[in-house]
C-alpha cells in the first residue's frame, strides 16, 4: 500500500491510497488520516482509484475518519470505481455514510455541496 496526502487549504485534504489495504497496512493509513484531522483538515477525500484490495479493517478506518471529520464540522468522501471494492461498501452498507462516488471530481463536488448546505443551515440558525 502507498499513501499520498495533500492539504488543499480551507480544511480540505485529499489522501490517495494505492495497493492493498488490509490489517497489515491499515495502521499506516490510520496514522496518515489521523494526522490530517489533527492538523485541521475536516473535509477529506479518500481517493481509492488505485486501491486494489479493501476489507473490514480498511472500512473501519474510513468510517472512523468520517466521524472525526463530521465532529469537526466537515465530512469525508470516497472516490472509488472498482467493482470488487464497491461490493464491499455495498454489503457493509457504508456507501452513503462514506459518500462513495466514482471519481475525485464527484467526491469534491459532494463535499462542496455538503459544505454549502451546512453553511446555509448555520446561516439560518444565525438569523
Amino acid at each position: 500500500m502507498r499513501i499520498q496526502t495533500e492539504e488543499a487549504g480551507e480544511c480540505r485534504a485529499i489522501c490517495r491510497i494505492s495497493g492493498e489495504l488490509d490489517a497489515y497496512t491499515a495502521p499506516d493509513l490510520r496514522d496518515a488520516l489521523d494526522k490530517l484531522v489533527d492538523e485541521g483538515s475536516s473535509w477529506i477525500i479518500a481517493d481509492l482509484t488505485e486501491l486494489t484490495y479493501l476489507d473490514s479493517t480498511g472500512l473501519g478506518i474510513l468510517v472512523g475518519t468520517a466521524k472525526r471529520c463530521r465532529q469537526a464540522g466537515g465530512d469525508l468522501a470516497v472516490a472509488c470505481a472498482r467493482t470488487n471494492l464497491l461490493k464491499i461498501f455495498q454489503i457493509s452498507g457504508t456507501q452513503e455514510i462514506l459518500n462513495v462516488l466514482p471519481d475525485v471530481e464527484a467526491a469534491t463536488a459532494r463535499l462542496e455541496e455538503l459544505n454549502e448546505a451546512r453553511s446555509a443551515e448555520s446561516g439560518e440558525e444565525g438569523t
Binding site: 492493498e20 488490509d22 490489517a23 497489515y24 484490495y53 479493501l54 476489507d55 473490514s56 479493517t57 472500512l59 473501519g60 468510517v63 467493482t83 470488487n84 461490493k87 464491499i88 454489503i91 457493509s92 452498507g93 457504508t94
Partner: protein, 144 residues
Amino acid sequence: MADRNADTVEMILPGRPEFLLLARLATSGVGLRAELTVDDIEDLKVAVSEACTNVINHAFGDDIKPADRKIQVRMTPGKGEMTVEIEDEGAGFDPKELQRSKRDGLDGKGGLGFGLMKELTDSFRVESAPGSGTRVIMVKRATR
C-alpha cells in the same frame, strides 16, 4: 469437516498481519485451479482475509507465545467451486453471541467480518466454542 482430497492445499501461517497477503495469494493460486472467475477470486480473497484477520485479532490472548499463534488454512479446488477452511486452536467463542454483535457492525463492536464472509461466499459455516478454537468453512462457486 469439509471434503479434503488429493487436491487440497494446506498451509500453516504465522498468526500475524504480515501474512494476510500470502493467504490471499494462495487463494488466487488455488482459485485459478477451481476455475473461479477473477471477480469470484476477489470476493473469496476478502472472505479468507477476514477469517484470518479474526484469528489474528481474537484467537490468541497475550499469554500465547508467537510460535503458537498459527492459522491453519486448507483450500480445496473442485469442479467450478472452491472450499476453504480456516482454523485456529485459540480462545474460541460462542457463535450464538454473533447475532447480537452483528448489529454493532462498524462501531468497533464486531460483526462486519462474518457479514462479509457470508455475503461474499455461497456457503459459510463457523464452528467454535470457548476454549476449543474456531473453524470457518466457506465454499465459493464459480459464476458463469
